[in-house]
Symmetry: C2
Subunit: 316 residues, 2 copies
């Protein structure tokens, strides 16, 4: 059994690749919820939705988020009557937020709601939130601290990044299915999808108990670099690394995760970095990591599984 | 100055006719809010919206409710994920409910929210809710009591009607602008639009203080019959009258309002009832009351104003 930690679009792609290889009983996709926020009174889970829409095969590949063949009549009408329009909500996408909020208000946990949405979309594999608690990723910058959506959407990631902290994380616990998966005797590897290390993967690692559970699981932990040739495929990962003074390369990713990972999958473009990374005790697989098609996704998933099969957990 | 009491579509049409004749300072349209309800966590005001969309000239005339050139992608997506789909919500219409709810949650009164929506839609005339309090019209039937939307949408008005009562009406007071208009020295007449007497006009009359204010205003009160040739133009008015044992005709309408009204505008088709109604001490104007065009609306509004000008308040 594999546990994959995923953020938004990059995470969704590798997760999709894994679903093409692994049976539903062989995979748990644990998704970052640190970006979740309340908007117009509904609870929006950007990363869960990215994974959900991708696995339901209704995601918009051009725009990179939301549902394909989307319409924007709600948003346009809302603008006309002076409503809040800084966060784009498609007519179809809105149904997810409203139904999720209705279920949460009824008392269902985010895990239960996510399971219900998966069933409605006929997704057989398990998508679980990192936690059922409400936590918020706060981006620390030289201009002050901002909740992620504020930094990402309103400020277009412009302020200089210095770190992250979290609201509500002390009280959080991992979602039951995530926690159980990390303790499952059949667990064979843990994957960090090619998601932003600071605002997608680290929030998952910061849920109390997760870091220790990963370290104690005794299975190899493999990351897929979200950086290819000095750039992030999507989002502010490269800018953040540069602002922290890290090399904007898979080497910086290796440095960030340090002893936590046993293997790193890097792109062909970064082949010349493989030796330096391996010298730090991390196994490396060089392959195509830019996922442009379902075939790319499945091939990368397979390479990641292959690397895991050759490695064992540090110290085990 | 004229105060017009209005329910949904029929009310909106006559109100629209009145706006073509009267300046914004000469008209207050007081709208039934007894049908208002919470759905998917927003506050929906069907009658306010009917009047609002009509006066904004964005109403759908074919469907008879909602916004024209509407799309239904939110609703279709919601159905797909198992959400509540008994109440149809268009993508554009949804923006009104969400923006209204946001403003109400911020602490604005329904009057303030309605004024803001009018401004956004560039409606110069005053549309005011009958009350800023939350009240609910409950339809009493032989099968039990049902909130209006439940009776109207889910049960398609099938149970035998026996009457109405209200939730929360004891604590309600008229909305400030409505109350002020009824006391305004320049008030010259009060109009009951051709709306359902039981579930559109009576709720307005039942707001504590309104009935007395009408009786004491000293100006003629004119109703426009919503019944033409034994049928309601729209909605369950005719069925309700029949089930109460009233004649389904302007005579039944006159009987229902009794001494409260001084004049009744009836359709050409009902001309043979004019004398019987006049015999009860009610002034009658016979004209075309079926409003198929903006011209029909303005003509009926003018005929209604003309009748008012010839009458004085009972006993004054």
């Amino acid at each position: 059994m594999i546990v994959a930690l995923a953020g938004g679009v990059g995470g969704a792609k590798l997760a999709h690749g894994l679903t093409r290889i692994l049976d539903p009983s062989e995979l748990v996709i644990a998704v970052n919820t640190g970006d979740d926020f309340l908007h117009l009174d509904y609870f929006i889970c950007p990363d869960l939705d990215s994974v959900l829409y991708k696995l339901a095969d209704i995601n918009d590949t051009e725009r990179g988020w939301g549902i394909r063949d989307e319409t924007w009549n709600f948003m346009e009408s809302l603008k006309k009557i002076g409503g809040e329009d800084w966060f784009q909500l498609g007519d179809k996408d809105l149904a997810t937020h409203i139904e999720r909020t209705r279920r949460l208000t009824e008392g269902q946990t985010l895990s239960e709601v996510t399971r219900a949405l998966c069933q409605q979309h006929k997704i057989a594999h398990s998508i679980v939130p990192m936690t059922d608690h409400r936590v918020g990723t706060v981006v620390d910058t030289k201009d002050g601290d901002f909740f992620f959506q504020d930094y990402f959407v309103r400020l277009r990631c412009e302020p200089t990044f210095t770190g992250v902290h979290y609201k509500g994380m002390e009280e959080a616990v991992p979602a039951p299915q995530f926690k159980a998966a990390l303790r499952d005797p059949s667990l064979t590897a843990i994957m960090f999808c090619p998601s932003n290390p600071y605002v997608s993967i680290d929030p998952i690692l910061s849920v109390p108990g997760v870091f220790n559970a990963l370290n104690n699981a005794g299975v190899p932990i493999i990351a897929v670099s979200p950086i290819i040739g000095g750039q992030a495929v999507k989002g502010p990962a490269a800018k953040m690394m540069a602002e922290l003074g890290l090399p904007v390369s898979p080497r910086g990713i290796a440095q960030h995760y340090g002893n936590l990972i046993d293997g790193l999958v890097i792109d062909n473009e970064d082949v010349d970095l493989a030796e330096q990374i391996m010298a730090t005790g991390i196994g490396v697989q060089v392959t195509n990591t830019l996922m442009k098609s379902a075939e790319d996704e499945a091939l990368l998933a397979q390479e990641t599984l292959n690397l895991a099969a050759t490695l064992s957990r540090k110290g085990s």
